[in-house]
């Protein structure tokens, strides 16, 4: 189906079902219960899951297939975001033009950066991209303040031109929408103790993510994808066979830059605000972590990695001392304080520490990321039929 093998179609369908039913899956605990702290099914986080999923899928096309480690991908995300917000300020609050322009602008910018950076490979390439990203960050933060709003960033204002939109009603604020359907609108479904939120913005982002995922499967399985893998395995050999790898790597770089721009545009569509720290080098590092954590060069890995990191950033970081004391209230006082003292450094503001430990564990024990973990578990259950099934379609990260 859709020009995919049976197995890939299966994967696409599973991902589609998971994303479309996410409001149910991510809210397994009833409202008001002690475990509700771990619910992730609220619109903002669901949107972040799929948007950063897109970002990581795009990054994986470059890193997973060609092996070129870009340390500056956040710059493309940021450029896409700025392009999108300017479309909203100048043209219309409809998100479609904003998203399309963000992809195009990020594509052009990545073409320029890629043109220069791809003259080198390995660590030099990484450093070059990092330099470009930090340069963009510094420009956005101070030098280009009139265009980027500096540290404060940009938001749609009541008195922006928005030449395609009708004038706002008195007292109304501009809201991102798609042909009138506002991104912030939600439909709440109350089932017993459970509350499920279906958000318009989330479903728009989810559909875009599915398209992006489909496109990435097609790229992975295409002759073009095969060329990119050839670049990764041995670029010199490719040169000797008379093939010039540069156009292929540049194309991969631009495609993954456009994915980042798409993610940036969607971020603005969901939450109409841009700040320069979106381009900071830690944001570039985050997407590398996502990809490696989930499994580089696998189709679903980056999405899983993005989900895990965003989950920890938003859920784990909000567990404060009070919450811990509530959980362990059943223990005798001394023991309670002791347990809280031990657990506390790993949650709340210590979520980075937990993330670091998980990352180390994954890199040491599961070089193929979360996907490898899944495969190992699956293998345990069907060891007997192993010889008949095809070998794992993924390859470990570098």
């Amino acid at each position: 189906m859709f020009g995919l093998t049976k197995k890939d179609t299966g994967l696409l369908i599973v991902v589609a079902i998971l994303t479309l039913l996410a409001p149910f899956i991510l809210n397994p605990f009833p409202e008001g219960s002690a475990m509700a702290q771990f619910n992730a099914g609220y619109p903002d986080l669901m949107q972040r899951f799929v948007i950063f999923g897109i970002f990581a899928i795009g990054f994986n096309i470059l890193f997973g297939l060609t092996g070129y480690l870009s340390f500056g991908h956040a710059a493309f995300l940021g450029v896409g975001s700025y392009a999108a917000i300017w479309m909203m300020k100048l043209l219309t609050m409809n998100v479609l033009p904003a998203i399309i322009i963000s992809v195009l602008v990020a594509g052009l910018f990545s073409l320029a950066v890629g043109w220069i950076s791809l003259r080198r490979s390995g660590i030099y390439f990484s450093i070059l991209t990092l330099a470009f990203a930090q340069m963009s960050y510094a420009l956005a933060y101070s030098v280009l303040t009139p265009i980027t709003g500096g540290e404060t960033g940009l938001q749609p204002k009541v008195d922006d031109p928005r030449i395609l939109d009708a004038a706002l009603a008195e007292g109304a604020t501009p809201k991102a929408n798609i042909f009138g359907l506002q991104m912030g609108q939600s439909f709440d479904l109350q089932l017993g103790g459970w509350l499920f939120t279906f958000n318009a913005g989330y479903y728009l982002a989810a559909v875009v993510m599915l398209l992006a995922f489909y496109l990435s499967i097609r790229i992975f399985r295409s002759p073009f994808g095969m060329m990119l893998r050839a670049v990764k395995s041995n670029q010199q050999r490719l040169n000797y066979t008379g093939l010039n790898p540069k156009p292929y790597t540049l194309a991969a770089f631009v495609i993954s830059g456009m994915y980042a721009g798409l993610a940036g545009g969607l971020l603005v569509a969901m939450d109409t605000q841009v700040g320069p720290e979106r381009m900071f080098w830690t944001a570039s590092g985050e997407v590398v972590l996502m990809t490696i954590l989930g499994g580089a060069a696998t189709l679903i890995g980056p999405v899983l990695g993005a989900g895990l990191i965003k989950y920890m950033e938003n859920i784990l970081s909000k567990i404060n001392k009070d919450v811990l004391h509530q959980w362990f209230a059943f223990l005798p006082d001394g023991l309670e304080d002791f347990i809280v003292a031990i657990v506390y450094p790993f949650v709340g503001k210590g979520w980075h520490l937990t993330l670091g430990l998980i990352f180390m564990a994954v890199v040491i024990f599961l070089p193929g990321g979360l996907v490898e973990a899944g495969q190992r578990i699956a293998r345990l259950f069907r060891r007997k039929t192993q010889d008949k099934t095809t070998p794992a379609k993924t390859e470990p990260a570098e």
Partner: protein, 445 residues
Amino acid sequence: MTKTDVTRRGVIRSGAVAGAGLAVPTIFTAQSAAAFTNEPTGGTVTLGFNVPQTGPYADEGADELRAYELAVEHLNGGGDGGMLNTFSSKALQGNGILGKKVEYVTGDTQTKSDAARASAKSMIEKDGAIMITGGSSSGVAVAVQALCQEAGVIFMAGLTHSNDTTGKDKKANGFRHFFNSYMSGAALAPILAANYGKDRRAYHLTADYNWGYTTEEAVRTSTEAMGWETVNAVKTPLTQTDFSSYIAPVLQSGADVLVLNHYGGNMVNSLTNAVQFGLRDKQVNGKNFEIVVPLYSRLMAKGAGANVKGIYGSTNWHWTLQDEGSKAFVKSFGTKYGFPPSQAAHTCYVQALLYADAVTRANSFNPCAVAEALEGFQFDGMGNGPTLYRAADHQCFKDVLVVKGKENPTSEFDLLEIVEITPVGQVTYDPSIFGGNLGTCNPGA
């Protein structure tokens, strides 16, 4: 060539499908019965404390969180009541807010707009927070304020000093108790003129971002009005840690005052560099060379150590103030945590109380009712003397403290001495000078 059959049944069927498709968006407009976002229905009300727990302002954030915990304790009737006893409005009874017990959720802004908005959004969407407060950076304050305006909750800004927060980026749902760059400049200039004379030549080093720009402009305008001349203004990158290369040209410029529009670690480093270069021992134009730091905080003074001695700056509040409100707050904060509160802690504590008080006076959690209760509200007993929440831009107007690094500190907390309490009349400005549009309040839902 494809053959298309148009049948009656087919037309009806596709018409029905299209109709259903068009009707889909209308189910999204079905709103819940609540009159405003996150209307508290049970016996509790949730406030969202969004402070930097990691990143460059983590110290301020930690102190803000301590202040919020203290405020919640006092609102729920615990502890010694702190400023509730000195606050001029007696609406709060120590039984929560409108009889509902105050609960809170915390989040980490990381001093990044994106992270701050994500954290505030999760408080609003997931935890049902009715009000968001906190923060230690103007960029974050502006970003979160805009979010709260969209979502329909009240935002009570924490430490944010840029003019923009209640200037060009002001919002109807956002309120700021802290003072701003303009007030710093207006309060400092007369003191500087009185101590250093009216014919000084100033050299500015300015942190290269919005807050730096507004502070530089404020200090420039008010000192030039006093007769000073601005020789040069140089922007320094925010990430700079060694300012030697920026300090060296100062002496050649013929300037006799150096103004450091820096905050936090930037100020600690630039001031230390300037003192190490021996600037303060120099004589230029027949006068002693002087250094000025427009925005001071105790945490910064601590970082710069002995270098702050005798250096002028302004601050929102200081724990050595001797009015009843300040004494009550310092006492209950000190009893609970063992050290005096910072100005960030003070402004956050006051903001939490002011919000609770406004809800009680309005007898409603509805953001529009709360905003109305805060607008034009005059109060006293919160440590800054008589204070007005101006309706036109949601900025608090109160006395501003001009402080000086203490020559002989008696403890590690006793680093600043109050030189003058600038009366509010001298720092009041016309709300229209910064532009911006307050809009109308948004109750959400």
